[in-house]
């Protein structure tokens, strides 16, 4: 039987997996599937015409204290009467005051959310899923690659790196969007570059006349940086088509697949691995994902 992806054998088990492969039927302590936190929207920031950043505060101080997540995890945000949507967390896991969610206007629930004003109440369930192995990436170079809305889930690891900046070596953020107007969190770029010594490279596919920067696909950015394959970890997040291009490019640069982490997105309804909507092979994105290493993703059909 011929496999569609021919993965060289020597790549397997070159080093132990940095993230654990899914162990089925396990219980993770960090996942809370049944608790609904009542939240208030304390601030709404309009980032682009499609995306807004919501600051959510859990109303009960005791609950606010126990809510803890790791970078890469997501929550289910519920608006009673409209539905529940999975949203990745964009804030620092040390921020006990409020949770930041970057939401694009796409469906029914997110459309009603975009009409929300300060003070509106919503419910929050979670956090769900696996997270980026930030501790294991320590003393490595970090490569954070985002496309479009993919910067939203990457903002949590960026905060993590900023808070533990001395543990990591060179940190690069490669960020590409379709148009300059779609760039998210532009107000933070200067801070990241100057305060946190992160090298940020941006690129757009279709430039307008005001755009001074680079134009092209995100893989163009690899020409400008040098990657030390033995000492680099990559986190990739973006639309499904981007994973394949970026990860394959990284692979040709010599980066092992088990040091590339991707965050998959799927339609989800229950968050408990029961409704089968987010199923990829025998893996449930809500319980066993959304963070996988690229080696694992290639062994899952339909994943990207």
């Amino acid at each position: 039987m011929k496999l569609s992806y021919q993965i060289p054998k020597q790549d397997i088990n070159l080093e132990p997996f940095m993230s654990r492969p899914p162990q089925y039927n396990r219980k993770t302590i960090i996942m809370k599937t049944d608790r609904v936190y009542k939240c208030e929207i304390i601030n709404v920031i309009e980032l682009t015409s499609l995306e807004k950043l919501f600051h959510l505060k859990i109303l009960d101080p005791a609950e606010r204290e126990i809510f803890y997540f790791r970078p890469g995890q997501f929550v289910m945000l519920e608006v009673p009467g409209f539905g529940e949507v999975p949203i990745s967390i964009s804030s620092s896991s040390n921020n006990k005051e409020f949770i930041e969610l970057c939401i694009r206007r796409a469906g029914r629930t997110t459309n009603i959310l975009h009409r929300a004003q300060k003070g509106a109440r919503v419910g929050l369930r979670g956090p769900f899923g696996t997270s980026f192995p930030m501790e294991k990436m320590a003393s490595h170079n970090i490569l954070l690659i985002a496309g479009g809305l993919g910067l939203a889930p990457l903002r949590a690891p960026i905060y993590w790196v900023n808070e533990h900046r001395n543990e990591y070596r060179d940190v690069h953020i490669l960020y590409g969007t379709k148009e300059p107007g779609q760039m998210l969190f532009t107000y933070q770029y200067e801070e990241w570059e100057k305060v946190n010594r992160i090298k940020l490279l941006t690129i757009v596919e279709e430039a307008n006349k005001d755009w001074p920067g680079r134009t092209g696909l995100i893989t163009e950015l690899f020409k400008e940086i040098t990657i030390d394959p033995d000492n680099t970890c990559a986190i990739v997040c973006g639309p499904p088509v981007m994973f394949k291009f970026v990860c394959n490019h990284l692979y040709t640069l010599g980066l092992p697949m088990n040091r590339m982490f991707v965050s998959l997105e799927r339609r989800m309804h229950c968050g408990m691995g029961k409704c089968c909507r987010c199923m990829v092979g025998s893996t449930f994105t809500c319980v066993d994902g959304p963070v996988f290493d690229y080696w694992f993703v290639l062994n899952l059909k339909e994943a990207i």
């Binding site: 039987m1 539905g83 509106a120 499904p240 092979g281 025998s282």
Partner: protein, 352 residues
């Protein structure tokens, strides 16, 4: 294990008596279809027919189920601050016990598979809605004297037409009597002191044994899925058999709705004025919207992937996860499929 007998004529009386204490759910005619329905009159129960149209999974996992209710005010609908808005109230659980009477052993095996799914991985991922129904339910099975041509319940370790796994009581039809085999304490408590039951004579027990052996021989179809476990997901996924198998499928979803083990569901909020409910409804992986993202991207874009997903889930993914094939051999999907897709054929191709 305790054996008793009851005359067929006394069965209706027993069921009516039971219905006074708890909800009795038995195969009953609803329009043209034979379905598992709550009955209050024991004579409504149809115990001499083969499989019901739909499986009884809906008793524990209803097609439409209220999960939570909420009240909101008109302001909340526009998402402006409202003090009490948006607090979900759990719906009231069943207040009395229920018994499923006359379920076939294959459908019971379906419940054992659903148990694995909804009780997955211990306390944190338990599905309270299913489990609290399951707890209050006793299951009285009825052995299959005459399996149909579409039945293949002896395949995949399902035990065949008289399997007792998961049952509290097993009924065996012997002439004008039923031999009642009490298997668990729950079953014993259910039937304690009921009218019409008497100690079984050895002749009836012998006869029941013979019927059981005869029925086993009547299950003609037997399919093997032994090689599927050894194959990798990648191998099976790229198998050329999928290129042709899916072609006739119309994606109507009847196989998933009638299946005793299919459990994909959808969660939706419904609101009338200020009163709302959160509903859980059956869904089907055969529908194109099942996995469609709000962006328009669909990880399973064509019918082929969706068709493949259903069979791969039942025979490969489920086995990887729970070491059990999620098919009980009831044959409903074979009977009801409008384009004659036969699961036995598909498994044969997968097992090649």
């Amino acid at each position: 294990m305790k054996e008793m007998v009851i005359n067929k004529g006394d069965m209706a009386g027993l069921l009516t008596e039971l219905a006074g204490e708890m909800t009795v759910i038995a195969p009953a005619k609803k329009g043209d279809n034979l379905l598992f329905e709550p009955i209050s009159d024991g004579s409504k129960a149809v115990l001499d027919s083969a499989n019901t149209r739909l499986s009884p999974k809906g008793v524990l996992f209803p097609q439409c189920e209220q999960m939570m209710t909420f009240t909101t005010d008109r302001k909340q609908a526009r998402l402006v601050a409202a003090e009490n808005a948006g607090i979900m109230q759990d719906v009231k659980p069943l207040d009395q016990g229920q018994v499923i009477w006359g379920i076939r052993p294959c459908d019971t095996a379906g419940f054992l598979i659903l148990d694995k799914v909804f009780n997955q991985g211990g306390a944190e991922y338990e599905d309270a809605y299913y489990l609290r129904r399951r707890e209050k339910t006793a299951i009285v099975g009825l052995g299959c004297n005459k399996p149909l041509s579409t039945c293949f319940c002896t395949s995949f370790d399902n035990g065949g037409p008289f399997a007792t796994n998961g049952l509290d009581v097993l009924l065996t039809e012997v002439g004008d009597k039923y031999v009642v085999t009490v298997l668990t304490d729950k079953g014993e408590a259910l039937l304690k002191g009921k009218n019409g039951l008497s100690e079984a004579d050895s002749a009836s027990i012998d006869q029941a044994g013979q019927i059981k052996d005869a029925a086993l021989k009547l299950v003609y179809s037997s399919i093997k899925a032994d090689k599927i476990k050894g194959k990798t997901t990648m191998e099976l996924f790229d198998d050329p058999c999928w290129d042709t198998l899916y072609e006739t499928c119309m994606a109507c979803g009847v196989c998933t709705y009638s299946c005793p083990t299919c459990h994909c569901f959808d969660i939706q909020d419904e609101m009338i004025d200020t009163e709302g409910v959160r509903m859980r409804n059956w869904d089907s992986c055969m529908f194109s919207l099942f996995t469609a993202h709000a962006t328009g991207h669909n990880p399973r874009p064509t019918k082929k992937e969706r068709f493949k997903q259903r069979f791969m889930h039942k025979f490969k993914y489920f086995q990887e996860k729970f070491d059990r094939i999620a098919c009980v051999g009831c044959g409903r999907c074979i009977q009801l499929c409008p384009v004659n897709i036969d699961v036995r054929q598909v498994v044969k191709e997968m097992n090649r």
